[in-house]
């Protein structure tokens, strides 16, 4: 198997990210196939198996394996050019002063050295995080080792280090420029944490790294006419990767306790009434959170374009654009990776390149809480139908807010 492996090793530090690109010069993958690519039994077309063989399980298995190991699997592709699959994995590196993990294999060490008790200067291993296993695996299949010796690496497998040294629980996405969004496997398909249904709409996010090279593993491809933009960002990615990794190393010491690994969720309040803003902010402060505030749906969309939020408190009845419509636009972006729906509503996208950790910027679904006055047009059914996750009825009390947030943070 051919691939590029970048790695940074710091002899004194414990965990780094390793990235592996597997690319081919195959038939490529059309954009609209991307959202379902990692789903079990999905192949790009109904007659794909007849033409190319396969069961449609390969990518699903890969995705689960990578995620069990605490990593991320993404894809970029250009039809008629090829595809690149990328995964990152956390890799624990340590100087073997103790004899722990004597049966661990250092996968990057000298292959000839079959004796796993390493004479190398560095020894390391990939760590499987304990997780609920998908149905593809039997109960003991893929757990090679349990989570022990957890030196400061966050227990949340999806945590990535952030520039200030605190590991964020919510992995943040950065839209680097208008056409370079990474299609993240776990967000494009069913994921264990998200319970809503996802319509697989056209135009899944593609792109990123150019793939040229020898073909490797089985990839579900199909020849189609549409062309995808493929940004040649390899160099940039590598820079960011090494930047990211050096930050990883630098922040190890600070992340020794679980508490400081879990940072505060980023919250957005969308509310036009000044008094409500004041009251809600005060309650949030009491709960220990800070919030960004915007006054209408358009501003909310712009805010989501600029930053990543974990939670949005969305007033339903608002001027300019109401909460239901705004939620629909945000969900459309989450599903398709683009803001076309917003553009057609007249919202211009402000581009901003986020310059912090973005080895792979996965996006987690934003938890949107409706704040409704419980009238007919703001009923709970209406809220859920438009993509909201939960609701709080007005007037907002401290208790309601607390329960709603705890439900999300649990």
């Amino acid at each position: 198997m051919n691939g590029d492996t970048e790695e940074e090793n710091h002899s004194t530090e414990t965990t780094v990210w390793i990235r592996c690109d597997v690319y081919d010069t195959g038939i490529g993958i059309p954009e609209k196939a991307i959202p379902t690519l990692f789903k079990r039994y999905m192949q790009v077309s109904a007659d794909h198996a007849r033409k190319y063989g396969g069961t449609g399980l390969g990518l699903a298995i890969c995705k689960q394996l990578v995620e069990l190991m605490g990593g991320r699997l993404t894809v970029s592709s250009k039809e008629h050019v090829g595809s690149t699959f990328t995964f990152i994995l956390p890799y624990k590196v340590s100087i073997p002063s103790s004899d722990e993990n004597s049966d661990d294999t250092d996968e990057l060490s000298d292959v000839d050295n079959n004796d796993a008790v390493s004479d190398d200067l560095t020894e390391g291993f990939f760590q499987f995080q304990p997780r609920t296993l998908g149905s593809l695996f039997s109960s003991n299949g893929s757990t090679r080792r349990t989570l022990h010796k957890f030196n400061g690496f966050p227990s949340n497998p999806f945590a990535l280090p952030s520039p200030n040294g605190v590991v964020s629980k919510a992995v943040t996405n950065s839209v680097e420029d208008s056409s370079s969004v990474v299609a993240d496997a776990s967000d494009l398909t069913e994921s264990t944490s998200s319970s809503d249904h996802r319509e697989n709409s056209e135009g899944g996010a593609v792109k990123l790294r150019q793939g040229c090279g020898d073909s490797s593993k089985e990839v579900n491809n199909e020849s189609r006419k549409s062309s995808n933009k493929c940004e040649g960002l390899i160099m940039k990615k590598e820079d960011e990767n090494s930047r990211c990794v050096s930050r990883c190393s630098g922040s190890r010491e600070e992340d020794s306790s679980k508490e400081c690994c879990r940072s505060k969720p980023k919250i957005l309040l969308v509310e036009d009434n000044k008094i409500n803003v004041m009251v809600t902010q005060s309650m949030m402060k009491r709960l220990g959170y800070s919030m960004d505030v915007v006054n209408n749906g358009v501003e909310a969309v712009k805010a989501v374009q600029r930053h990543t939020y974990d939670i949005i408190l969305m007033d339903v009845f608002m001027p300019v654009m109401n909460g239901l419509q705004t939620t629909k636009l945000i969900r459309s972006y989450e599903e398709t990776g683009n803001w076309d729906a917003a553009k057609s509503s007249g919202i211009e996208q402000i581009q901003q390149i986020s310059d912090y950790e973005c080895c792979v910027p996965p996006r987690k679904r934003i938890h949107i809480i409706a704040m409704t006055a419980n009238t007919v047009s703001e009923s709970a059914e209406e809220c859920y139908a438009n993509g909201m996750d939960s609701f709080v009825s007005k007037p907002v009390t401290f208790q309601k807010l607390k329960e709603c947030l705890e439900q999300y943070l649990r």
Binding site: N273, I275, N276, S282, R286, P395, V396, F398
Partner: protein, 154 residues
Amino acid sequence: MDVGQMQRQWLDYTRSLFIEGFLDNQFLQLQQLQDENNPEFVVEVVSLFFEDSERILKDLTFALDQQGVDFKKVDAHVHQLKGSSSSVGAQRVKNACIAFRNFCEEQNVEACLRCLQQVKQEYCLVKNKLETLFRLEQQIVAAGGSIPMMELSF
């Protein structure tokens, strides 16, 4: 009057506002949000409410005075007022707004004008009551006492 008496007076007066329906539980929420970090919270929020309400009432008067009444706009204003009065616990104002919105839906100008009167009246009442309450609070604090915590025990 000594501090103890003033505090009792404050308690009695506050209780009466609840019993008479001028204030509801949401007002307690505001009081509970007031602490050393935020010692003037209730006064600040309520003052903002007063400002905002007066603006809205003016806009409402103007809107209903037009030849062709824009009921959508009227409804939007009333919705705002309903929202803010609800958030500060001004129960009677909120209820008057609810009634108001029904007539907006019916596009009944006469009824709307009556509702507007009603809302203005309720607003004036609660404004006076709250200003009295705040004056009492100032006196207590000036005399070296602290404002009691309200318990909704009735």
